[in-house]
Symmetry: C2
Subunit: 157 residues, 2 copies
DNA sequence: TGATCGGAGACTATTATAGTCTCCGACCTT
DNA sequence: AAGGTCGGAGACTATAATAGTCTCCGATCA
């Protein structure tokens, strides 16, 4: 349960790879193309292409066309959060259907629903978690942040 | 993203309702049947029936057959965690496909995958969160627990 | 003994995910 | 300026997960 999609998985792998190349010791600043990543991690090329295009549209990476083209991180790894990456691919975090209900939309359960508020607290905690962790942390860094449980914050009914 | 299923949603609503009836002031100890919950929250009766049967199999509620039958909480609300409820319905928490890989199973990316370990840390944090919160907390209680971000725990590569 | 309850399994429908195919335009190299 | 190499974009199919339905059974209480 609470699984992230393959596409999101691929996005994380790709960004980790790009960051490692770009800020690594071997070939710093080198652009990385889709094919290289697809082969390295056995990801279907065309699917990965779509993922990278989406990341570019969301300004997490910069694209460069033409031969010798490819992708670069648009910012430094510690400025890219896991939440941003996942949301780029999967859309806004929402553990329930009603998390992002527009005004006037209501789920069939809404009028009597007593679990919406506590679930939104859980969602907030997960959001804090994913926002507190950056691509840099996935490379081995160790910042120091503490998350509050929604239980600890108190849940009104 | 990271959505929980409707069935899990229904399970939470149902348990909240059962707990409210059972430990409330109006009719304490009363058994609650499927139809009552389905009507109260506009949940398809037969689908809810399956959900409750699953919860009973997982010993979160007790079932009573026959007329005047229905369900009771098997334990007190503060002894039932959100994690237990969700896992009863959706199976073990796993944010990636490889979270519960059996020996010998490997995803296509595994040999080169650098994100598995940090993602498992994220998963652990979410698990802590869901284990720290109980059905009782969803009723308005306010225990006091703190969760550590995986970033704060350090992520080896 | 029959109406009311849960238990169980097969079944269908719907939607989300995963993956494929094709064509386009940018742009470096020669 | 031409051809190969790259990303951009959209339609398309396949597969799997989810949501929901239908039917029959056995327990049990009045």
């Amino acid at each position: 349960m609470l699984k992230i999609s393959k596409k999101a998985d691929y996005a994380l792998m790709a960004l980790q790879h790009i960051a490692a190349v770009q800020f690594g010791d071997v070939t710093p600043g080198r652009v990385v193309n889709t094919k290289e990543i697809a082969e390295e991690y056995n990801i279907p090329l065309e699917l990965l292409a779509k993922v990278l295009q989406t990341l570019a549209k969301n300004a997490l990476i910069e694209s460069h066309n033409g031969p010798k083209g490819g992708y670069l991180l648009a910012r430094r790894a510690h400025q890219i959060t896991i939440a941003q990456i996942l949301e780029s691919i999967e859309g806004p975090l929402g553990i329930t259907d009603c998390s992002h209900e527009k005004d006037g939309e209501f789920c069939m359960q809404r009028e009597n629903c007593h679990i919406r508020t506590p679930l939104l607290k859980v969602q907030d905690s997960i959001a804090q978690l994913l926002n507190s962790m950056t691509l840099h942390d996935m490379m081995g860094g160790t910042p120091l942040i503490t998350i509050q449980s929604p239980a600890a914050q108190g849940v009104e009914r």
